[in-house]
Every structure is written in structure tokens, then in C-alpha cells.
């Protein structure tokens, strides 16, 4: 290659030797012949003209550069076929630097021009036109040297490209470092590559998912194309991008329309107007293939070195950017996971503290309502819900009763005060199935669709709900604890785990409350029972007092008095026996009669009593009164009446009176000794006449007929048996004689 200073030196020499100054030329040691040989041998284009600009000489290098052999003496100004300025503007020969040198009689330096050969190729060159003068200084011609600078130009362009590429790479790295998304940083690379491309093409980046099974488009292709290829599978049967990633080596398809694998996708290539498709894998430093870089050419195109180089550079830069990006994503993911776990830990700690405080309250607090309120509050916090409620199972109604809630409005509170177990609400369903029911979205729940429950939830502004049954330690249902959200929500496993601890506490509280209530009820019952017992005992004692008082008062002797008193107390005691057997709820009249007369029925002797009457249950008080009256009648009969001789007997009957609401009982003595009206009424008679009448609210007849005592009482059934629902006694049979 001829250096510029050499060219100037040769130029100066030529100026002196060629024509004008033979002496000086001789000083250089050249004669004309030598000179011509020298010029011919020079690898640089050289030609001369006369003062008029007609070409007088050219060497071989000049003919090569011009791509033609100039016509000596005819061609004017220049040896070239056509001329252009470096920017491509045509330049006539008369305006060329040589013409300027001749017309203005001066050397022209530092300009560039482009020669066009007859075959159309162009050669950039630098001319060095220099005027030639004779010894008098008259212009006699000019010599020009044309320096081919096409290699220089190419290197220059290459340099510019490299600079642009470096700048683009730098910009892309900068973007990546600043945390720009991959679309941005890789987009810059594509833009840079496109600027340098010599033919029409598209470039795109694809990135593999972490599992390495699919490719996702990052940047480069239009949306329509992306829609078709996004999620492209990575594998041996894949399109070039997937294949390049799978193989880990470039896949070059000069013309996709010639490729069998592209056949199903040919329409895509036509629609997006490309033929050549090249894909290059993007590998990280560790050798992992993370994506691919693709170029789509408008025309069929095999891989040229220059494009391969470009692709390799792009893939390399992209791999650094993608690695960095993935690392930062990973770092971000790790730090986010860390933050998340810290948050969870803090939430769990807070929940644990809350649960502990509830536990403490459960032990200490007496105010159950306040505890329920605390539990629904905690339920809302633990589950991050907008509302919460507790219901208890009402065993009588087999339904859930709302006992505490958080966040319900008055209407919701009224609506859900009671929930049946066949209700379509989550709590009704949970009660029925005895399992937790979670409805993440009431609008998307099949079970709830078009039910009144769904409408109720909507009205209350509830979108998601969860109900957990509260179960006693023995496994029986106690109630329900529910949480509600205004937006669709699926509670996490972690939340549910903590919530279950709370549910356990709520269940324990309800169970405790229920046993406390039962205990209180039993204590109250016991108090009532003791009061009643006291009352009854006192009344009985008063009765005994009365019997004792009056028996002793009217007794002729102390011995007789004691005997009568004993008999009366025993009669009273027997009646009590019957009543006690019946738990003091009533007494069968037949049993009472049998008991009252037992002492007077001689098992071996003749039958002294003729008893007839159906089963009828008497109130305790009526039973006692009748027992005592029968005792007095029997005692009197033994002393003075039918039981005082061998043959007498007593007929006792009872049954319904003429009026269905009346009861009648009769005692008539037959075949006894003749009796007389007693002179005065003894205690027994008064007890029968007044006492019985008072106790039964009835009318007593007591006649001391000469052929036997006749006693009868008519009393309202209501007084004897209590309510109207008691079965009526059979009417007295027709053997009854008035």
C-alpha cells in the first residue's frame, strides 16, 4: 500500500522530472525512459495531461482504476469513465480536481471523489492533481495521481459500525443495569442490529420459562405474530427458535417455504412476509440455554459470516443481560419471600398473642357475652375478614342461633338470627354436613346459585364466606363460627390453621357456658324442690299437730287417746306411702281404699268390704283427705257399726255422678247392730263432715240410720283430679241405692 507521504514525494519528483525541469530530473538520476518505466511500474494510478487538459499519459494502475483504457490526446481532464462526489452527486470532468488544477494553475489536495467504471462498479479515490510548468514558469500540463481508498473507506465504515454497535451495547447494558425490563434492554440491541443490517429483516428475542419447556416472546415481533407463537414448545419437533434452544446450536433456515417443518406455519411466514429464518441459542456463562435470538429475512437468505458474527455478538450480549435480569429477578423473589415470611411470622405472632389473651380471658372472665364478642373480633383478624359471627346450636329447635357478630347491619342480624340445618347458607350446610364449608365466591357457587341465601348475602354485601362447625370435646355439634368477606376470598391454609385454634376455644367456651347453665338450672330446681319439701313437711306437721291436738283433747282416757292418735298417724302414713310410690303426682283411689282398709280386712274371716269403682287418679291432697275419712269411717264401724259384730259388712262405691263433672263416693254399712245418732260430733265426724267437704270442695252426707251408717260425698271432679283432661270415672252402677 502506498502511504500518503510517499505519494506526495512522488508527486513532487514528477513535477520536477517529467517535463519541466530535465536538469532537476537528472538530479534525481532519471532519464525519460527510466521515468516512463518507473511510472508504468507504479501500483498507483498516474496520468498526465497537456495544458489544455488532454490526457497525454496514463499507467496501467490508472487504467485498472478507471476500468477502461483512456484515449490519449482525446480524453479530457481525467482517465475515469464517470465521476461523482463522495455523497454521490455526479461530477462533470470539467469540474474535476484535475480541471481545477489546470485552470487555476495550482495543486489541489485533500479532496475525494468516486470513479464509476463502465461496468458500474465504483471506486472511491483521492486525486493529487499538480500543474507542470516549464523553466519560465509557463503552465505546460499537469500530472495526477489517483489513490484508490476503497479499502480505507471499508475500514472506516467497519469502524463506524463497531462504534455504533459498542454504543448500542453500552446503552443496552446501561438500561439493564438501571433495572429496565428485558423488552427495553433487548429492544435496544435489536434497534442497533437493525441499523447496521444491509438487507431487510426483523429481529426478535425469545426467553425460556424456568422449567425450560416453553419460549416466550420478549421483543421484536408484531403482536399478531406473537399471539401465534407465544408459548412455543422447546423440543426436537419445534420451530427454529425452540429447536435452537433444544439443540443449543444455531438453526439456519435460508427459506422457510422450503422447509417441511414450516409447512403448517407457511401461512404465518407469508402473512408476516419473511422467508429466511435464523435462530441462535442464548447461553449463559454457565452454559445454560435461556432463550433465543431470531432473524427473519424478507428474502431467502443463507447465513453470511457478517450476519453470523452479528448474531453471535447479539446473543452474547443478550445472554449477559438476561442472566443479569434473571439474577435480579431471583434476588427480588428471594427478598420478597423473605419479606413475606417476616410478615407471616409477625401476623402469626400477633394471632398467637391474641389467642393467648383469649385463653387467659376464658379462664378469668365471667362475662361470657364479652368473650363471644372478643372471639368474633379475633376471628375477623385471624381470617382478615370484614365480618364474623358465632352461632350456638339450639337443641330444642335443631337450629343455629346467632349469639355474637362483628360487622352485620341490623337487617343482616335479623335475617340470620335463626338458621335451620337445611338452609342454603354456608352455616346451614356446614351444620348438616358437619364439615367446614368455604364459599370463595357466592356468585360462582353452584350450591348457592339462585337460593334465598345468595340473595341475603348480596344484600349484606357479602361475597365470600366460610363456616366452621364448633364441636364439643365429646364430638357433638355445639354451634358454628363463620367469617365473611366483601370481595371473593379463599382463606389460606395458614389462616385456617390459626382459625381452628380459635374455633376450639369458642367451642370450649360454649360447652362451658352450657354446662354452667345446666348446673344453674339444676341448682334452681333443687332450691325449688327444697322449698317445696319444707313447705310440705311444715304443712304435714301442722296436720299432725291438728290430729294430735284434737285426738287428745276429745279422748276419754289418755290410753284411748294414744291408741286413736297412733291409728290416725298410721292411716296418714299409709296414705303417704301410696302418694310417695306415685311420686306425689297423684294416687289411684282403688289403691288408697285398699291401703286404708287393709288394717280392718281380716284375711281369714268373711269378706267385710264390698268395694267397686274404677281406676281414678286423685290429686295428692284429695287422696289424703279421702284416706283419712275412710280411716275414721272404718274406726267408727269397728267401734259402733257394721264391723262391730260378726255379720256386718261395708259397701264402698265410687264413680261419676249424674253430672259428668261430679264425682261421688259412698260408704254404707249393712247388717251391723242398730245404731243411734251420737250425742255430739267427735273429731272423726267433724273431720268427715267439715274437713273432707272443705278439702274436696264438695257436699258430704253422713246419716246415722238405724240399720247402718250411710256416708256419701259429691265433689267436683276438678277438685279431685285436677284438670279437665283426666278420664272421667264410669258412672256408678245400678246397684247403687239412694
Amino acid at each position: 500500500m502506498v502511504e500518503e507521504q510517499d505519494v506526495y514525494a512522488i508527486g513532487d519528483a514528477l513535477q520536477h522530472v517529467a517535463v519541466a525541469d530535465p536538469l532537476a530530473a537528472l538530479d534525481f538520476g532519471f532519464d525519460a525512459k527510466h521515468l516512463r518505466q518507473l511510472l508504468d511500474a507504479l501500483p498507483v494510478a498516474v496520468y498526465t495531461t497537456d495544458a489544455a487538459g488532454l490526457v497525454t499519459y496514463f499507467n496501467q494502475a490508472a487504467a485498472d482504476l478507471a476500468g477502461r483504457r483512456p484515449a490519449l490526446g482525446t480524453d479530457e481532464w481525467c482517465v475515469t469513465w464517470k465521476l461523482h462526489l463522495p455523497d454521490g452527486t455526479p461530477l462533470t470532468h470539467s469540474e474535476c480536481p484535475m480541471a481545477i488544477a489546470l485552470t487555476e494553475n495550482r495543486s489541489v489536495r485533500g479532496v475525494e471523489a468516486v470513479a464509476e467504471r463502465p461496468d458500474g462498479t465504483r471506486v472511491p479515490f483521492m486525486p493529487f492533481p499538480t500543474p507542470l510548468r516549464d523553466e519560465n514558469g509557463e503552465l505546460v500540463g499537469a500530472v495526477n495521481m489517483l489513490l484508490d481508498i476503497s479499502e480505507h473507506k471499508k475500514a472506516e465504515r467497519r469502524l463506524r459500525q463497531n462504534e455504533a454497535w459498542l454504543a448500542g451495547q453500552k446503552e443496552a447494558f446501561q438500561a439493564a443495569m438501571n433495572g429496565a425490563p428485558l423488552e427495553k434492554s433487548l429492544g435496544i440491541l435489536i434497534e442497533t442490529a437493525m441499523k447496521q443490517a444491509e438487507s431487510e429483516r426483523r429481529c426478535a428475542f425469545y426467553i425460556a420459562n424456568p422449567e425450560g419447556t416453553e419460549l416466550r416472546h420478549v421483543v421484536g415481533m408484531p403482536d399478531g405474530y406473537v399471539k401465534c407463537v407465544d408459548g412455543l414448545k422447546i423440543g426436537p419437533g419445534s420451530l427454529p427458535c425452540g429447536l435452537a434452544v433444544h439443540r443449543g446450536e444455531p438453526v439456519i433456515m435460508p427459506d422457510v417455504l422450503e422447509e417441511p417443518v414450516w409447512e403448517p406455519w407457511a401461512w404465518l411466514a407469508r402473512e408476516f412476509d419473511f422467508r429466511g429464518c435464523w435462530s441462535f441459542p442464548i447461553e449463559t456463562a454457565s452454559g445454560k440455554v435461556v432463550g433465543s435470538f431470531a432473524m427473519y429475512f424478507k428474502e431467502p437468505n443463507g447465513a453470511a459470516d457478517r450476519d453470523r458474527e452479528l448474531a453471535a455478538a447479539l446473543a452474547h450480549t443478550a445472554s449477559i443481560i438476561i442472566s443479569r435480569h434473571q439474577e435480579s429477578l431471583e434476588r427480588e423473589r428471594i427478598s420478597q419471600a423473605l419479606r413475606e415470611s417476616e410478615r407471616n411470622l409477625a401476623a402469626e405472632l400477633a394471632a398467637a398473642r391474641h389467642l393467648q389473651s383469649i385463653s387467659t380471658s376464658l379462664i378469668r372472665e365471667g362475662d361470657v357475652e364479652a368473650l363471644y364478642a372478643q372471639i368474633v373480633e379475633a376471628a375477623g383478624e385471624v381470617m382478615h375478614s370484614d365480618m364474623a359471627s358465632i352461632q350456638v346450636l339450639d337443641h330444642e329447635n335443631d337450629a343455629l342461633r346467632l349469639i355474637a357478630h362483628k360487622g352485620f347491619d341490623a337487617e343482616a342480624e335479623a335475617t340470620w338470627r335463626w338458621i335451620e340445618h337445611d338452609d342454603a347458607t354456608s352455616c346451614g350446610h356446614a351444620l348438616k354436613t358437619k364439615t367446614r364449608i368455604v364459599v370463595p365466591d357466592i356468585e360462582a357457587d353452584e350450591f348457592m346459585a339462585c337460593t334465598p341465601a345468595q340473595e341475603q348475602y348480596r344484600k349484606a354485601g357479602i361475597r365470600a364466606v366460610q363456616s366452621t362447625p364448633l364441636v364439643g370435646r365429646a364430638g357433638h355439634s355445639l354451634g358454628m363460627i363463620s367469617t365473611h368477606w366483601r370481595m371473593p376470598h379463599e382463606p389460606s391454609e395458614r389462616d385456617l390453621r390459626i382459625f381452628d385454634v380459635l374455633a376450639r376455644q369458642a367451642a370450649d367456651l360454649i360447652e362451658r357456658k352450657e354446662s354452667e347453665d345446666a348446673l344453674q338450672r339444676r341448682a334452681a330446681q333443687l332450691r325449688l324442690l327444697l322449698d317445696e319439701l319444707n313447705h310440705r313437711v311444715k304443712n304435714t306437721l301442722a296436720t299432725v299437730q291438728s290430729i294430735a291436738h284434737q285426738t287428745l283433747r276429745h279422748a276419754p282416757t289418755m290410753a284411748e287417746g294414744r291408741k286413736s292418735l297412733d291409728a290416725r298417724l298410721i292411716a296418714l302414713s299409709r296414705a303417704h306411702n301410696v302418694l310417695t310410690r306415685e311420686h306425689w303426682e297423684g294416687a289411684n283411689l282403688r289403691e288408697l281404699v285398699a291401703e286404708a282398709l287393709a288394717a280392718y280386712s281380716n284375711g281369714s274371716g268373711p269378706r267385710r268390704f264390698d268395694v267397686s269403682g274404677n281406676d281414678i287418679r286423685l290429686l295428692p291432697k284429695a287422696g289424703l283427705a279421702i284416706s283419712m275419712a275412710l280411716h275414721e269411717l272404718a274406726t267408727n264401724a269397728v267401734k259402733y257399726g257394721a264391723l262391730s259384730n260378726e255379720n256386718g259388712h261395708v259397701r264402698i262405691r265410687w264413680g261419676g255422678g249424674e253430672d259428668a263433672q261430679l264425682f261421688r263416693l259412698e260408704w254404707s254399712e249393712i247388717d251391723g247392730p242398730p245404731i243411734e245418732q251420737p250425742r255430739r260430733l267427735g273429731f272423726g265426724s267433724r273431720l268427715i263432715k267439715h274437713g273432707l267437704a272443705q278439702d274436696l270442695g264438695g257436699v258430704v252426707e253422713l246419716h246415722f240410720e238405724p240399720d247402718g251408717l250411710v256416708f256419701a260425698i259429691d265433689a267436683p271432679l276438678k277438685e279431685l283430679c285436677g284438670g279437665d283432661d283426666k278420664p272421667h270415672p264410669r258412672p256408678l252402677d245400678d246397684r247403687w241405692e239412694r
Binding site: D531, N534, N539, A542, G697
Partner: protein, 124 residues
């Protein structure tokens, strides 16, 4: 036993009691003290009517008549200015506050308890 002269001689008494034997005991005790039995009643409606219409000096009210409280009778008597004595097997504290100043005869009772209660009620 002939009636001895006492501070209660001639006082007319209404006896409200559902237990016939106790009624009889009260009657006898009252007669022994020289009182007269104005009437007896063992049912609430009957007792209310008698409390409203009869003339008597003092009443003995069993607190519980067949499971019904006799407080309405006490109110009638109070409004008529007739003193009364409660007889009961229950604790005196089971009486309503407004009636707790009335003398109470705890069953079973002795003759002097009856006399004292009536004396207190009558202020003699």
C-alpha cells in the same frame, strides 16, 4: 275448754286455709282464746269474696292456697284497714317486700304463737 277472758275475746276472725285439718286446729285454738270464727275459706275466689264483704276484726291468711298466693286478699284487707296474719310453712322472706311487716305464723305453731301474732296484728 271454756273460753277464758283474754285480750282477744270477742274478736271476729276470718280463717283462710286450704288444709282442712289445719283449719280445724285454728278454729279450735281461736275459740279457746275467746274469738269468734267469722268464716273460713279454702279457695282464693271464695276467700276474696269473703274478705271483701264480711265484717271481722282480723284474718289469718295461709300464704299458699292450692298453689295460689293469697297476696291479693292481703291487699283487699289492707285497703279495708283490716289487720291480718300470714300463716305459712315457707320462710317469711318469701313474702313480697310490701307485705313483710305483717305478722307471720310459722306452721306448725303453738297456741301462744297464734295469740301473739293476732295480738300484734290487732295492736292489743
Amino acid at each position: 275448754m271454756p273460753a277464758a277472758e283474754s285480750r282477744l275475746t270477742g274478736k271476729r276472725v276470718l280463717v283462710v286455709e286450704d288444709e282442712a285439718l289445719v283449719t280445724m286446729l285454728l278454729e279450735e285454738g281461736l275459740i279457746d282464746m275467746g274469738c269468734e270464727i267469722a268464716d273460713t275459706a279454702s279457695r282464693l275466689d271464695d276467700a276474696l269474696e269473703k274478705a271483701n264483704s264480711l265484717l271481722f276484726d282480723v284474718a289469718i291468711l295461709d300464704v299458699n292456697l292450692h298453689g295460689q298466693k293469697t297476696f291479693p286478699i292481703a291487699e283487699v284487707l289492707s285497703s279495708r284497714g283490716i289487720p291480718f296474719v300470714f300463716s305459712t310453712g315457707y320462710e317469711a322472706s318469701s313474702l313480697p317486700l310490701s307485705l313483710q311487716q305483717a305478722p307471720v305464723l310459722q306452721k306448725p305453731f303453738q297456741q301462744q304463737d297464734l295469740e301473739q301474732a293476732l295480738g300484734t296484728a290487732l295492736g292489743v
